[in-house]
Structures are given as C-alpha cells and as structure tokens.
Point group: C2
Chain length 216, copies 2
DNA sequence: AATAAGATGTGAAATATATAACAACATAAT
DNA sequence: ATTATGTTGTTATATATTTCACATCTTATT
C-alpha cells in the first residue's frame, strides 16, 4: 500500500502547490489590511475578496501553522509574520539575472522582489551597451565574467530573461557554475540535470486562460 | 445528481485549466522544432522535454482536436496551426495597458504578445513625463483620455501594471468604460463585478514555489 | 447564568487531474 | 506475407484538491 497523505520523506507536511501559489496573494492582502489599521480578519472575509470557499482559506492558512480564534478570526500581524516565514520570504536568497532587456531591467528595478527575499546581486548580458552599467545598484557584467563572480558571490537562483534562443545556452552555463534553481521567463523549455529546479513563468499561459474565458 | 464531466452549458468540452496552461509551452517547443526543420514529433519526445507523462501530453493535445498517426507521431506544422487556433492566438484582441512603468514598458516592447493575438493599442499613465510619448508605435495617453479612446477604439482586455496602490482605482475605471477582462500584474487583489474576468499574474507565486523547492 | 450566533478546524465526500493499462493501428524488419 | 515494435487514443484507476458537514469553541446578548 502506498501512503502519501502529504507527508514527504523528511517527515514534513508537503504543501499543495495550489496552496503555495495562493499564499502570496493572501499576504499582499494582509499587508494592505495592516496599512489600513485592520487588526483582525476572518476566513470568510478573505474568501469573499478572493472569490473562493472559506474553508479552503482556512486549510491554506493551517499549513502555515497560524492559529485563528473562534468568533474573532486571525490576527493580521501574526498572519503576515507567519506566512512570510513559512514562504522563506524573510531569508535573503541571492540570484543572478541573465539578459538585461526590458523584462530583465523591470525585474531588477522591481523593489518588490527584494522585500520578498530575493536579492539580485548581478546582471549579465552580451550587449556592450549595457555591460558595466548599473541599475539600482546592481552591476551588469559581461557573460564571460560569470564564472569569476559566481565564485566570489555565490547564488543559488538564476533568472533567465534573455531572448528565447539563448535560454538553453545560458541555462547550461548557469548550471555549470553552481546555480541550483532556474527561473525561466522565456517561453522556451529548458533541459537541465535531474537535481536542478526549473520554474517557468509563462505569460502566455495566463494569456491562454484569459482568452479562453473571454471566448467560451 | 450533478453532472459536470467537463461539459459546459454550451455543450462544448470544458478544457482543464492545467491543460490550457501547458499548451503555450508545447506551442513554443513546436515552433522551435519547425525552425529546426523537424516535421514529426511523438508524445514521448514531448513528454521527455517537459518531464511529464506521455499520456498526459496525448490527452492535452486531444483537447485541441489535433490527430496523430500511430507509429509516426504528430505533424509539427499541424500541431502549431491547431493549437494557435484552439487558444485563439490567431485572433487579434485589443488591450489597453495601465501604468507605463518598467513592467508596462517591457510588456509593450514584448513583441511576443502581438504574435500571440494580443494587441496593445494604447497605454495610460498619470506621469506627465511619459504621457504623449510613444513606445514601439503605442501611444501613451493621460488616464483622463481613457473614456474617449475606449469609445473610438474599444478593447476588451485591460492590463494593469500600475503601482500596487492604484490597481483597484484603475480597475474600477476600466470596468466602467467597458473592459471585460482584467489582467492584473500587481500583487493587489482586485474587486470587480461578477461578470468581469480577472486573471492575476503573480511573480510572487512563482517565487514561493521556487523557494519552497529549494529549501524543502 | 444561559443561550444564541459566528467563527475556526477537521474528517468525510465530491470533484478534478494525472497516471496506468490496454486495445487498435501503422510501419519496419524478417 | 507475417511478425515485431512503437505510438496513438481511450477507458479505468489512483492521486490531489476542493467542497461539504459538523463538532468545537469564543464572544455577545438576553
């Protein structure tokens, strides 16, 4: 008999990916509540904002270990702290960014990522026009300097925002020099060794869903 | 007894959202194959590239109506055409973009969207510095001009790339003047009437998944 | 004090999605 | 021609996720 029950090998509860993907949305809402001076919030309120079932909210939150009080709801401050810690948004994780085009530049400029634990420590490109420039204090290097820099300032995450055609090439390089997880913003599918994590952020998937909802 | 069986009211088969989200990925791969001169591809090949079960690939493709040939596989050209039509990437859908910051600019510059059926016809902002400028032929207007423009050149999709705080305000305006679907790139949750479609593109969700995989 | 009402939290049921099993078939090899 | 093999496509099973039902608890009201 196979037992899974959301328990992984290490004995930790395996969080469903859909839950993991919803938590940052809640978090943003809770932060807005805090700014508005709200101290308590119920699963019903949350559910109505996100148009979902309130018990699903409860279940999602229960994974983080936060405790609510009957008839009162959850403490906003506590929700924020617990979720931030649960998602590792409080730890500082270094990342390299490959491909400083419009999207790459947008990501570096996006202060949000820093507040969510992601520290882009350097950018890389092949265009002499951007090499040695700085964006918000992040220096852009020639791709050839990657090896040296990855020794000096190691990073586990590589963000790929190159033109589609270069994605695989850059990914190979990144993996060769110690990147453990690749965040791929190109639509290109990337082949990596078994132990390397790849997360694809596909704008086109979202577009497909929108168009489908609009037309059907 | 409730019957769902993936059959919607209109009698059409309801496509699972996960399938819908995977199809653009396949499409990109098929386009690359075509450029490489490959004419046939099997579900097994596709599955190995995307590290998934081959029957799931078959199922996904079957929704689009494309037919493969036993022992041969699918015709690449045919796959591309069928998926493009299935996802409505061949129709031209107008969109307004609100908030011409780094991300907004990146999206307008991103030719990809045009090739996937999305036509950003105008940008809006409140910053006098960008109003009346042009990005790749897309004119940026004052937010106040939105009403007039939405009458002249109607669009069904509104893309929100404003600072978080303005998202709701802009969404209200967009809905008031006829936008049917909102593509929200801010982490802010947005309240809209029942009949309006909202699709949230949350970078933080992807980040949460990456960090979770890295650390657990 | 007792009762009512509104909330969390949990275990069971229902639904959705993915995997497995296999039949049907087309091509290549013998 | 016949057999072997690889591949599609479909039905059945397993797993994952969401919803439902309800017990429990906390506060407010009578």
């Amino acid at each position: 008999m196979k037992v899974r029950n959301n328990i992984s090998n290490s004995g930790q509860v395996q969080v469903p990916t859909p839950t993991l993907r919803r938590l940052p949305g809640y978090l943003s809402y809770f932060k807005a509540l805090k700014i508005g001076g709200v101290e308590q919030v119920s699963s019903g309120q949350i559910a109505s904002v996100f148009k979902m079932d309130s018990t699903l909210v409860t279940k999602d939150l229960s994974y983080t270990g936060v405790k609510g009080r009957t008839k009162v709801g959850y403490n906003v401050e506590q929700l924020i702290e617990t979720i931030v810690r649960f998602l590792d948004f409080n730890t500082r994780e270094n990342a390299f960014l490959f491909g400083v085009g419009n999207l790459g530049r947008a990501l570096i400029n996006y202060q949000g990522l820093q507040h969510y634990g992601l520290n882009i420590v350097a950018g890389f490109d092949t265009d002499p026009g951007v090499i040695n420039t700085q964006i918000r204090g992040v220096k852009i290097h020639a791709l050839d300097d990657f090896r040296d820099l990855s020794i000096k300032t190691p990073a586990r995450i590589g963000i790929i925002t190159t033109p589609d055609g270069s994605a695989q090439e850059v990914a190979d390089l990144a993996v060769a020099w110690g990147i453990k997880a690749i965040w791929n913003f190109t639509p290109q599918s990337i082949k990596v060794p078994e132990n390397i994590i790849v997360e694809n952020t596909s704008i086109y998937s979202d577009l497909a869903v929108i168009l489908n909802k609009l037309n059907h």
